[in-house]
Symmetry: C2
Subunit: 126 residues, 2 copies
Amino acid sequence: MNSRRCAACKHLRRRCPSDCIFAPYFPSNNPLRFAYVHKIYGASNVAKILDDVPVKCRAQAAETLWYEAYCRIRDPVHGCAGMVSVLHQQLNIAEWQLATVKAAIKNESSNVEPLLDPRPLPPHYI
Amino acid sequence: MNSRRCAACKHLRRRCPSDCIFAPYFPSNNPLRFAYVHKIYGASNVAKILDDVPVKCRAQAAETLWYEAYCRIRDPVHGCAGMVSVLHQQLNIAEWQLATVKAAIKNESSNVEPLLDPRPLPPHYI
């Protein structure tokens, strides 16, 4: 029945077979989700990628394909790899800040060490 | 001439036209680079994506397409989006550590403030 076709089969204007590889991951109520992956990868490549992973992993694979297609449509030059680059930069900055603060603490604590870690009194005080 | 065909035209077993969209970004000495994007996106989708961006951005677009295809072949379930997820987690951890260390410093400095910032002596010491 037409009303039971998944978003992919609707988009491709074909019957939706009972074992449709797309149906569980591209429901008819979200046509954009399939339109995105279709535009970037093409239906046959999406089907091949889904078919090559275990059934239990296909929902995750469809989700990440959709995410990458969405990123590529939003930023055709950098795509999802642009996000990786931005996050690498942010991580480098955060790790540098953390290392700087830790070094400052180490330096500070070595300066105030006598106050925090009492040493034995020198002999003439005993 | 055959020897001047780019990696894409060699892979697709076709003549390499003088205005080949692939040639500047998929040189013949790196056949795997095109094989990866061909496997994941298909040649026509790669050509469409490259054609849709300004010429000066195409090298970057080809590089990110290659990177995403490489990630998808290495990890067919998560692809490049998996890297985004891992980097998000690492960034969250680094930012949490930074916030924790900064809070500890603030707390510590408010505790040791009297030692570092001498207050006026109470009246009976004057």
